[in-house]
Subunit: 214 residues, 2 copies
Amino acid sequence: MARTTEKLDEKIRARNIRIILDVATDVFSRKGFDGARIAEIAELANLPKANIYYYFSSKEDIYSTIITNLIAGWDDALSKLRVDQDPADALRQYVRAKLVYARENPRESRLFASEIIQGARFLSKKDRAHMRAATDRYVAVLDQWMQEGRMRKIDARHFFIMLWGATQFYSDFEPLACDALHRNSLSEQDYDSAVDTIVSSIVSGVIPVAQPNR
Amino acid sequence: MARTTEKLDEKIRARNIRIILDVATDVFSRKGFDGARIAEIAELANLPKANIYYYFSSKEDIYSTIITNLIAGWDDALSKLRVDQDPADALRQYVRAKLVYARENPRESRLFASEIIQGARFLSKKDRAHMRAATDRYVAVLDQWMQEGRMRKIDARHFFIMLWGATQFYSDFEPLACDALHRNSLSEQDYDSAVDTIVSSIVSGVIPVAQPNR
DNA sequence: GTCTATAGGTAGATAGAC
DNA sequence: GTCTATCTACCTATAGAC
């Protein structure tokens, strides 16, 4: 009997926590940390406000939980660049993976963008170190390719910033992307075009090589 | 006498409005519209809270004024792409102008980014139409270059989104850029490296052309 | 034009009944 | 575990003295 109750409680608890984190992601992404209201989260979760405080100790507790979760999610979502891959193929896979993640997780992407714009106040040192380490690994792969002559020598760190900015724009600044593309909303084809444009631009360049008959 | 008083009043008014808009840009950029507090704006402006409401009718009034002002500022800041320029030179100038603007106006840049992330609720139709028209003019220049064979055929709209994302990252997501570059803050040299990496990547591509002896 | 005082409402968080 | 009622603090905005 006790076991049944415990199991049921665990189910209710897990379910409520999941719902709270889900709607909180929505509210935080639309309002930022300071602008978000616990009352709105409670309303969207169909729970009394006090119930939120039964599962989480504070507003910051909910927020930090979401951030740590989404950073963990990135590692799985982003295909790993490996030194033995073809650089052009690998870059295409990386850009595609970033755009797919952005398209499938727009709220998480915007919440994180909002957190950074507002000064990265709740991004823990651990999470930042984790991200720096991931960047360093990617940079090492590109540096290796450059050493082997399989890639032109550029600054790999700035290069990754360029890829991040180019890909995140579609989810974080969607209204601007829609305006620029004359769309009401972005379709899967638009995302495919984004991959093609980004990859073909950075792989081959946009300026034709001068004719040899000069 | 009346004239002197009027002049003095105008000076005080102009000065106070300027100060309010200045500190409000800071607060809105750090907290977003909903998170910003009039009390904080008043405190930073060294004015009583009620004084803010003497110059502006509401929180939204201050916010909208800032947004319209900063959009007007862009037209001057961004060097115009002209069809008769050399494409590579023109793209370098454009990227540089965007990065210089981002570096010199980080608060405006972040406030605007925050507004878009939070759904572009206060971006007027007029301002959006204005931005779309500017984009269309830039796109027309690139399309012309492509028709003349001076530029590879890519989607000009996605291409501009790539440039916007790549350049805005440095001001809007500065903490991430600092982490990626292993810096405490970004120097002018870092911005120069950003221009070089972005421009050389998109102009020539990062993958060497295959040797002709295949 | 300036600013104190305050209205009227809502925020995050908690006490305690069930 | 759940939720009503409520605390204290703070919010936007205004009234009205100077």
